[in-house]
Point group: C2
Chain length 273, copies 2
């Protein structure tokens, strides 16, 4: 059994490319369609109704292009629009929250887990619910919004005194806590992983396991498709096509650092719902 | 002669409230309609076609509500969408760039003027052209994009070591230059004016006049309406109504610090073009 249809990946902008990169790593035979809603990015500062409307239109766009699964590679959209949208389609619609929440629960010895993300993601409580579902009902995760991490990553300021000062300000919320695992609850944050890990180590006086959603989500997608016997077996003709709602060239320029290679096949499309 | 119609004010988000506040200061008799396109904010990281499309729809929305003038209180939209959109309507469509460019040329003794703004505003060259039109063709303004100033202002980090470090990083571009005047080419930046002014003074070893577009634009609107004999003479019944494309409550919460008072009469509308 094999299913040659591509996997769809959706994010508000370039952040989901961290998930796309992880998918290519573990599923090199699969073709991928990436949709970045760059004309309306970011979602993290918007309201629930708006986020749901945008995510619903984006998932529909990918489903209509005959994908075999959609990865909602955006924490804000996963937090506000799933599982509602998943129920509307027969193919798997997979978010980035459940996979890394499961991984964090499996990794943590103390049972104390920290979560950082956008204001919208933190306010949604989606990580708290996902961690509880994964079996840690007795410990409430400690959450901290870090709104400046996305603009810092987009500015390319991922190391140095300024990002360290910002990280210290945000991560000091975890001082005195018992967390031994921290979830990077935003697809941009892996770009700051070194600074986040080092700052946390300095503040806590001990090491904390830092998990990003990209790796956990890619493993989760692999397992879901394997169970459905929908993995491609052939080792050729895997392609990646990108669709964006703002200028293709701008996306190609901003996205290249996420993949460490130039982005080809970027097409403009409109999402106006 | 009097014209009782309101003045329309448009911005991508809350930043234009600095212009609205200045308008209320100099034109207390005028009713105002404010439109914040909060479901698609920010514009500063988007391409020219997208910005023009959004601005065109926003101006049309206000014109259809029978305003006597529209103030495009958003530097990015002013840079990319004017004068094209202004030519489409009979009422005055006034941007924020020309007024403060004129004020800067009038204020500068050295003729050397600095401009800071979003990447999109700087890249557009709109301030360079406006300053040249105002009479300083012999000196090219020195421009510096400051992408982190907007998220810092929105995070409420307007003073202290982090914003000072970011300001030093950006404003050091002006060290060794002869600028005696700096234009804050983004409606959010007045919230950081104290830090920007002090950091510049420290870096330059002398004071630099810092001008924001809000005050200059309000004076410009007043003069334009006076020439048309379209100012309201009555001293009562001036009202302010806000329209937003994302959640009204979120806008009211974020916007209150810009006006130092609660925002009432906030309505949700859709702009889907």
């Amino acid at each position: 059994m094999t299913d040659h249809r591509p996997i769809g990946v959706f994010d508000s902008g370039v952040g989901g490319l961290t998930v796309l990169a992880a998918l290519r790593e573990v599923l090199p035979n699969e073709s991928l369609l990436y949709l970045g809603d760059t004309a309306r990015v970011p979602y993290g500062n918007k309201g629930a109704d708006t986020i749901q409307r945008y995510a619903r239109g984006a998932v529909r766009f990918l489903v209509e292009r005959d994908v075999k699964a959609v990865v909602v590679a955006c924490n804000t959209a996963s937090a506000y629009a799933l599982p509602g949208i998943a129920d509307e389609w027969e193919i798997p619609i997979i978010g980035v929250i459940e996979p890394v929440a499961n991984a964090a629960v499996a990794s943590s010895r103390s049972g104390h887990i920290g979560v950082i993300g956008t204001r919208a993601t933190v306010r949604s409580g989606a990580y708290v619910r996902a961690i509880e579902r994964a079996g840690q009902t007795h410990i409430v995760p400690l959450q901290q919004p870090c709104p400046l991490f996305v603009p810092l990553a987009e500015e390319g300021w991922t190391q140095g005194p300024i990002v360290e000062a910002v990280a210290s300000e945000y991560l000091s919320a975890f001082q005195g806590s018992a967390i031994d695992t921290l979830i990077l609850g935003c697809t941009h944050y892996p770009l700051l992983k070194v600074t986040i890990t080092q700052t946390l180590q300095r503040l806590m006086g001990r090491s904390v396991e830092v998990l990003d959603s990209a790796t956990a989500t890619a493993a989760y997608v692999q397992e879901a498709l394997r169970r459905q016997k929908a993995l491609r077996q052939t080792e050729s003709n895997a392609s990646v096509v990108y669709f964006v709602t703002d200028e293709p060239q701008r996306f190609a320029d901003t996205g290249a650092p996420y993949l460490n290679e130039p982005l080809e096949h970027v097409e403009h499309i409109d999402l106006v719902t």
